[in-house]
């Protein structure tokens, strides 16, 4: 009797567990494309294929012509002429149908996420040190590590949010709460002056005229950067929601 109840309970728990964590599984894609193969073994940088990342809001899914550029039609015997997965791509190409990839990293429609702002951001100037080093072994997705990756730039900057795509055979969401507001805020709070803006902006302004104090603080918290222009406000709601 007891054991049956226990079984039922454990079934329920595991069901919930699976439903909640199923997002961490690889999404089923029309073609078993391996990021690992392309990036690590062949050394292709992210922005070779996702070519709009530095220029646009969207990073851009590579057009099929990019794939065919290396793999070529089967008769040309370029790269992997016999691979069945690559042939799937060739079939799409020959039929003039774009590949219906499944979107893994999705953010709600009411959020404006400009890839270009993040790719082009001058991390040294904008991001303050989170304090504490990155423990890449035990906590690769900790805030410190993400910031470290971001500051490294290049492909590492992509990894900061999308996870280590270079180790993935398919594509999966690494952070469970990817695209949630708190997840974004984690890093947005690390921008110079952001915490000060958020917390102490001017709590007492209503009761004490705090002009001098604030102007001093403004310089101290780095609202104005070394080039003399104003750092972007990463905390304003209208930065992302409009």
């Amino acid at each position: 009797m007891v054991s049956r109840q226990f079984n039922l309970l454990s079934l329920l728990i595991s069901f919930l567990f699976i439903t909640i964590y199923s997002s961490a599984a690889y999404a089923k894609q029309p073609i078993a494309f391996s990021h690992k193969l392309h990036t690590v073994q062949n050394g292709i940088p992210c922005q070779y294929c996702h070519l709009y990342a530095r220029r646009s809001f969207s990073s851009g899914v590579p057009p099929v012509s990019t794939c065919i550029g290396c793999h070529g039609p089967q008769e040309m015997k370029l790269v992997k002429p016999e691979s069945s997965e690559v042939n799937k791509m060739r079939e799409y190409w020959s039929k003039n149908i774009p590949i219906p990839w499944v979107k893994v990293h999705d953010i709600p429609d009411f959020v404006r996420f400009p890839h270009k702002k993040h790719i082009n951001a001058d991390s040294d100037r904008l991001i303050s040190d989170a304090g504490g080093g990155c423990d890449a072994e035990n906590a690769p997705r900790s805030l410190e590590c993400k910031l470290a990756l971001f500051r490294t730039g290049g492909d590492e900057r992509c990894i900061a949010c999308h996870g280590d795509v270079r180790s993935m055979d398919g594509m999966k969401q690494v952070d469970d709460n990817f695209g949630k507001m708190g997840w974004c805020m984690e890093c947005h709070l690390q921008v110079k002056g952001a915490k000060e803006r958020k917390r102490t902006g001017n709590t007492w302004a209503g009761w004490f005229h705090a002009k001098e104090m604030d102007i001093e603080r403004e310089a101290a918290i780095g609202l104005i950067n070394d080039k003399g222009f104003h750092n972007p406000n990463t905390l304003d709601c209208l930065t992302c929601h409009y």
């Binding site: 709460n177 949630k180 507001m181 708190g182 997840w183 805020m185």
Partner: protein, 488 residues
């Protein structure tokens, strides 16, 4: 036994016999067992007409639920609320039901503290009314808002968005005031019920009704009636009463600040808090009478809810009616005296409608707010005037008619405030009109259905009068009637 109190035509005055329990309440001459049995008899298997009545109320409730379902499906736009009248029937209903919810706590807390013994017979029902009315009122913000599925965002809870709520918003005060009031009313109601449920439990066991006993036993919280329990209980009750009293006055004040804190002409006045509180008590007591006078007739409770009780409630109604009438007059005076063109315009608009010169030429038509205004004045200021006469107060039918009118009037008072001010705000180019649609009417009917369904179920499932307090108010059984010899 004789009449406890009454009008003696020969003497031409009311004769109150000071020696019998509480003057005017016959039940105070009954014995403990007698009270117990009579009260429990009320919970006996009901007459078939009871189910018919209940069915009617449930159908009204169903109509409301259906209307709301349609509204959620099609969009809030299926109601008549619009621009610039963004609040309409729903907020009117909300304020109305919150107002109804004031009588219970007022009677059970304020009159407890002021030791008004005539409350004993009616406070349980009034408290139940409070709880149900606040339930009903609490539904309306959900019905009203555009995205009810996100209503939980109004609660300050830690979330991954790192966002909190705006404590400067009067609506958030409302959230706190209404939830606190709801919690306190429910707790107060349950607190009062504990000894009575223990009675029910023991009676059920005594009569061998095991199922009932099983239901009542946990609700009675192991109540034994020992002196230790009584000490905590009575002190706790006093604390509840002491804290509920300011709460009663605060809730409707805070509801009134939903309006008074805005800059809408006709809303932005300091008189709103007392005005709303008086109105709430006014409407709440009227609802008590509207509900209890029929119950008294059906159950034959003339010994408990005597004419004296009705008279006492009527007196408070007269008093609050005067306050409300005075507030109406003050609003107009301030509107005039402020010199603000916006205020003056709105207080012209409420009674008389569009001013000739507001439109290009003429077209002075009577509109919904004007109907609401004159109904309000008639029902709230003029209709209670006959209550000044003792004869009217002593006639339950007349009192019931007046109380029902007051309920109508108070509903229209809220509509008058909400509906008319929003129609004529600052920018004349954005003035508009408001007419409810079938959805709002359906939900409004449904809210009455909800309230009365709950109340009807209550009447037959829990003792509608506090048995324990009735006993407390009556003469205790004495072997040697040395000190009191009231059996006249």
């Amino acid at each position: 036994m004789g009449t406890a109190s009454g009008y003696d035509p020969t003497a031409g005055k009311v004769i109150i016999d000071e020696h019998i329990g509480h003057p005017g309440i016959k039940a105070t001459t009954l014995g403990y067992g007698e009270i117990n049995d009579e009260m429990l008899a009320m919970l006996d298997k009901p007459h078939p007409s009871y189910y018919l009545l209940l069915l009617g109320f449930i159908m009204a409730l169903g109509l409301g639920a259906l209307s709301f379902a349609i509204q959620v499906d099609v969009g809030i736009g299926y109601s008549g609320i619009s621009h610039p009248i963004a609040w309409g029937f729903y907020i009117t209903n909300f304020v109305f039901w919150i107002g109804i919810g004031h009588a219970g706590t007022l009677i059970s807390a304020v009159f407890y503290l002021t030791r008004a013994p005539w409350r004993t017979a009616i406070y349980r029902s009034a408290e139940a009314m409070t709880v149900f009315a606040v339930f009903t009122a609490g539904l309306f913000p959900l019905i009203h808002i555009g995205r009810p599925w996100l209503a939980f965002w109004l609660i300050p809870y830690p979330n991954e968005r790192m966002l909190w709520v705006n404590f400067k918003s009067p609506l958030l005060w409302d959230v706190f005031a209404v939830t606190t009031y709801m919690s306190v009313s429910i707790m107060f109601f349950l607190l009062g019920l504990i000894p009575d449920i223990a009675i029910l439990r023991d009676e059920a066991i005594r009569k061998g009704k095991k199922l009932k006993a099983l239901v009542y036993a946990p609700l009675a919280l192991a109540w034994r009636g020992t002196n230790h329990q009584w000490v905590h209980y009575m002190r706790g009750y006093l604390i509840f009463a002491a804290f509920a009293t300011p709460l009663v006055f605060s809730v409707h004040s805070i509801v009134s600040w939903d309006f008074a804190m805005s800059s809408v002409p006709g809303w932005h006045t300091t008189i709103f808090a007392p005005y709303f509180v008086a109105g709430a008590i006014f409407s709440g007591l009227a609802m008590v009478l509207t509900v209890l006078i029929p119950i008294r007739a059906v159950f034959g409770l003339q010994d408990y809810i005597t004419n004296h009780v009705i008279q006492s409630v009527s007196r408070v109604i007269i008093f609050t009616s005067i306050i409300v009438g005075y507030a109406y007059a003050t609003e107009f005076f301030i509107g005039y005296y402020s010199g603000s063109p916006y205020e003056r315009a709105i207080f012209y608009y409420r009674p008389f409608g569009e001013m000739q010169s507001w439109t290009l030429l003429g077209d002075n038509q009577l509109n919904f707010p004007q109907i609401a205004f004159w109904l309000m004045v008639f029902c709230n200021v003029i209709a209670p005037i006959p209550l000044w006469r003792w004869k009217v107060r002593n006639n339950p039918l007349a009192v019931w008619i007046i109380a029902a009118l007051i309920n109508v009037g108070m509903w229209f008072e809220r509509f008058n405030i909400i509906g008319s001010s929003l129609q004529h705000e600052y920018d004349p180019a954005s003035w508009g009109e408001y007419w409810p649609t079938i959805v709002e009417t359906g939900v409004t009917i449904g809210s009455f259905g909800f309230f009365f369904t709950l109340f009807t179920i209550f009447v037959k499932s829990l003792p509608p009068m506090a048995i324990m307090e009735l006993k407390e108010g009556t003469k205790p059984p004495m072997k040697n009637n040395v000190k009191k010899d009231g059996d006249g």
